[in-house]
């Protein structure tokens, strides 16, 4: 009178396989659950009992024990209802023994026996495939999500009675009764890429702001952090909003990674099974530090992690609390964020492209002396809301100008599609160069790797030295300049970094002067 069902648990970014063990023995009738359970998991017994009753099965007057093993792993979430119910049924011998062998079961039960969707299906499914499990029973709305895991036959179910019918059938009949859903990940990605092309707004709507667009192009091609400074109405936000339209497409691995993260956060929309475009998050400056970094008793991913592999756009950067902004210091360096709470320590990925927009002074119009009368002290005070280490990590800094109404060229500027082709080309160059390493973009280069990938000729070295002295660059700023120059060279299709590339990269080092 014992049964064991495979189910899964997610903790942070890690998922584990969990066994729901059920035993019926004689004794005082009761329903006992053990195994380091969260509040919602403890309530599960009640849901299971009533759902079974409303499906027409009453529990025998026996001592029912449920153990979720490994017993030391904290269990949270509502996905354990269905495996426990199936476990009880198997132990009661209402279901044939062995019918759930090698099958992953997840799902929440309603009191009437319906099965509701849950969070975090994708990471569990991915982990199960790695452990050699090829079939799963999941709520219908999560079926496509589970099917994204390659090699997983995901069956979507909508009620407990359907599950019982299904499990009573032979394997062959099962497939006829509820055929496993299939998802072609590559096709989905391709589709997403095509849809991206139609995405509004378009860079073509910006005319005459060529230097801004150039900086955006470089930033997108090398995944560099970008700081845009300028008076109100100079197109900072407009530019940032269009950045996602020229970013290189997500690769399959990246897409799965982001989708898993979104699945854990419960951010995948209904019916959506895969994130196909790079995330773009633009939190308001009143965002709390916890929401920003992620947190909670059981740590959940925050804004920084949700922007993983995408853009984190901070509009009006000095308006953010300094404490909030400083949270970015570690993730910007290590590309992940570690959240330690009393219930444990969790690491979420946070590889973001940070795009910041800010006014140059409190009134916003500096250096236009006709409108701005801010003193250097006021300006310094305003900009000092952004700490030096954050500024230091911005690869490109660009100043936006208010366009002159009469001087703006009419007609179409360079469109997103055209810019995107250039970005993809530079991306391919980078892929070739970094094949077999962990590096994806030029911005990922560590200072030790610069010698290898950003080697300079004799003449270029001289120029860099001159720039270094003349612009009074720090060593770190110099490294950033090199990385940006590498991206510019990639955009131009050049194998070597030439002096022109270095010189152009130097234009974007204005941020170093901000600190003073």
């Amino acid at each position: 009178m014992f049964s064991s069902i495979i189910t899964g648990a997610v903790y942070g970014m890690e998922s584990h396989l969990v066994r729901a063990e059920v035993d019926l023995s004689s004794g005082l009738p009761c329903f006992i659950m053990v195994g380091s359970l969260g509040r919602e998991v403890k309530e599960s017994g009640e849901r299971v009992r009533i759902a079974l009753k409303n499906t027409g099965i009453s529990l025998p007057p026996m001592h029912i024990s449920v153990n979720l093993s490994p017993a030391d792993l904290k269990k949270v979430g509502t996905g354990y209802d269905l495996p426990i119910a199936v476990g009880v049924l198997t132990a009661m011998e209402k279901l044939p023994r062995g019918c759930t062998e090698g099958m992953l079961i997840l799902g929440e039960l309603g009191l009437n026996g319906e099965i509701k969707g849950i969070k975090g299906v994708l990471p569990v499914a991915l982990n199960a495939v790695r452990a050699g499990i090829t079939r799963c029973l999941v709520p219908e709305e999560n079926a496509r999500e589970a099917a994204v895991a390659e090699g997983m036959e995901a069956v979507g179910v909508s009620s407990l009675s359907q599950v019982i019918d299904y499990l009573r059938l032979s394997r062959k009949e099962q497939n006829r009764y509820l055929p496993p859903g299939k998802v072609d990940v590559d096709a989905l990605l391709r589709e997403g890429r095509e849809k991206e092309g139609e995405r509004r707004p378009d860079f073509g709507e910006i005319t005459g702001q060529e230097s801004l667009k150039r900086a955006a192009l470089i930033a997108a091609a090398g995944f560099h952090h970008l700081l845009i400074m300028g008076p109100p109405g100079s197109g900072k936000t407009m530019l940032a909003k269009r950045l996602p339209t020229i970013l290189p497409a997500l690769t399959k691995e990246e897409s799965l990674e982001v989708s898993a993260l979104y699945s854990i956060a419960g951010r995948l929309g209904a019916g959506e099974c895969l994130v196909t475009s790079r995330p773009f998050l633009s939190p308001h400056h009143t965002v709390s530090p916890q929401a920003f970094s992620g947190g909670g008793q059981i740590p959940r991913p925050g804004i920084v992690s949700l922007a993983h592999r995408g853009i984190l756009f901070l509009d009006e950067m000095p308006e953010f609390k300094r404490q909030t902004l400083d949270l970015l210091r570690q993730p910007l360096e290590s590309k992940e964020i570690q959240i330690a709470r009393s219930n444990g320590c969790v690491t979420y990925p946070a590889d973001v492209m940070l795009v910041g927009a800010l006014n140059p002074c409190p009134c916003g119009y500096y250096p236009d002396r006709n409108r701005c009368r801010c003193t250097p002290f006021e300006r310094h005070n305003y900009l000092s809301h952004i700490s030096g280490p954050i500024l230091d990590r911005m690869d490109l800094c660009i100043e936006a100008q208010r366009p002159d109404l009469f001087r703006v060229e009419r007609g179409q500027g360079e469109t997103s599609a055209k810019m995107r082709r250039k970005v993809e080309q530079a991306r391919r160059k980078q892929e070739e160069r970094y094949r077999g390493t962990k590096i994806r973009f030029n911005s990922d280069l560590e200072s030790g790797e610069l010698d290898e990938y950003c080697a300079l000729g004799e003449k270029e070295r001289e120029i860099l030295e001159k720039l270094f002295q003349k612009m009074d660059l720090s060593m770190r700023a110099c490294h950033r300049l090199l990385k940006v120059a590498r991206t510019i060279a990639d955009l131009e299709g050049s194998e070597r970094i030439l002096s022109g590339h270095l010189a152009e990269a130097a234009v974007y080092r204005m941020g170093d002067k901000l600190e003073q």
Partner: protein, 419 residues
């Protein structure tokens, strides 16, 4: 205590300014007599004032304070001294005492004040440096208040050219205010001139002390040059004082649309001299017999900047039209450093420059322009303001440029005849 120390004592007294000191000296004859007088003081000053002085005396050792001051290399001059600047003596109310760290300006040498806004534009910076440098080269002492912006920049440029400059402070001469000009302060002390103040050492800067400082700045100079000033500004207070003292005032003209040039343009309307070249000022200072034959017809890219920019573009179009191959044209454009021709002392954005260069018929790409600009920055011929704006710099070139422009003026004149 010797006579000098008595004078020093008199200048330290609380509630005794220049006018009170005059009254006391008129009544008693000398500072020593004032010091030794007891009850007689009450006849000249009120009861309370005398009490304050008595209180002050209890805790004040004039001899020690004086020696301490000398140790800090600050000297003290009064009207009784021969060294007291002749120019100040001519004022309607010469300050009784003057503290000096470093040298006093020589009476025999010409002196000009360069003053202007603290929050100046790149144009103002450029012009202040150019004038400061050129005046210093001609042996003119540059007088100013060592403030942030125009004042300090003019003085810095003077030092750079090996000239002399004198800073008049609104605080004690031992205090560097603003602290951001520490390097300049030190350089002046180290032999480039002197730090002057009418306030005893240790006096912290206070708002009410600055008009007096401005009066001394005007008083020490033969003429006053205003580089950039708003319509309502402290600079114009200095100008008023200079006019009261009968000094000539020159102003650097600016664009009508620049609020920072309003003060200057207004001064010009009121009859101030127009400073187009340092030669104008030098002529005024009678260093040169007559005005140097330097181009003067054209105001420096003033109100009609659009127009001049266009003619520049026209010119380069003419220069380049003979060459047919556009790639060759571009190459020669980049090689010849002709980007400089499109730059201005007002910062222009890269986009604006690109539009102008393209309008001139050269199909330049943005990356090429940017790297060309950085090249110019490296050579020191241009500089980057903020993120994507560039302007022309390289100090003394402004006036050399003017001569070259005469050629342009002639060309332009031809065009006007046609109309």
């Amino acid at each position: 205590m010797d006579e000098r120390q008595y004078r020093f004592w008199l200048h330290q007294l609380p509630g005794v300014g220049d006018r009170t000191a005059d009254r006391l000296l008129a009544a008693f004859g000398s500072p020593k007599a004032v010091c030794l007088a007891k009850d007689e003081l009450k006849k000249v000053l009120g009861e309370k004032a005398v009490e304050r002085i008595m209180d002050f005396n209890k805790n004040f050792d004039a001899q020690r304070a004086y020696e301490q001051m000398l140790k800090r290399k600050i000297s003290f001059y009064t009207r009784e001294d021969e060294d007291y600047p002749e120019r100040l003596r001519k004022l309607s109310y010469p300050p009784y005492g003057l503290y000096c760290l470093g040298k006093l300006p020589k009476d025999s040498h010409p002196a000009a004040a360069i003053i202007g806004a603290r929050e100046c534009s790149e144009y103002g910076r450029y012009v202040a440096k150019a004038f400061g440098g050129e005046l210093a080269k001609a042996g003119v002492a540059v007088i100013s208040g060592m403030a942030r912006g125009i004042d300090g920049l003019g003085q810095q440029a003077a030092l750079k050219q090996g000239g002399e400059t004198y800073a008049v402070l609104g605080c004690g001469a031992d205090i560097c205010y603003p602290a951001s000009n520490k390097a300049l302060y030190q350089e002046i002390v180290d032999g480039g001139g002197g730090i002057l103040s009418v306030f005893p050492p240790g006096t912290p800067p206070a708002k009410r002390q600055f008009p007096e400082r401005n009066r001394i700045v005007a008083g020490l100079s033969d003429l006053v040059l205003v580089v950039e000033a708003r319509q309502k500004s402290g600079t114009l207070i200095t100008v008023d004082m200079a006019l009261e003292q009968g000094k000539n005032v020159y102003a650097v003209p600016g664009r009508l649309t620049d609020r920072l040039s309003d003060g200057c343009n207004l001064l010009i309307r009121q009859g101030a001299g127009i400073a187009l070249t340092p030669g104008d000022l030098l002529a005024e200072l009678e260093l040169l017999g007559n005005r140097k034959a330097i181009g003067t017809a054209k105001a420096p890219q003033a109100a009609g900047s659009e127009e001049t920019a266009e003619t520049e573009a026209d010119l380069s179009r003419e220069n380049l039209s003979q060459r047919d191959n556009s790639a060759e044209k571009k190459a020669s454009f980049l090689k010849g450093g002709m980007i400089l021709e499109f730059l201005d002392s007002y910062p222009k954005s890269a986009d604006e420059l690109l539009a102008k260069i393209r309008a001139a018929g050269i199909s330049l790409e943005l990356p090429e322009l940017l790297s060309g600009l950085i090249g110019l920055c490296m050579e020191g011929k241009a500089a980057q303001a903020g993120g994507s704006c560039f302007f022309r710099c390289g100090e003394p070139e402004l006036f050399a440029e003017r001569q070259k422009n005469q050629y342009n003026d002639k060309k332009k004149g031809k065009g006007e005849e046609g109309l």
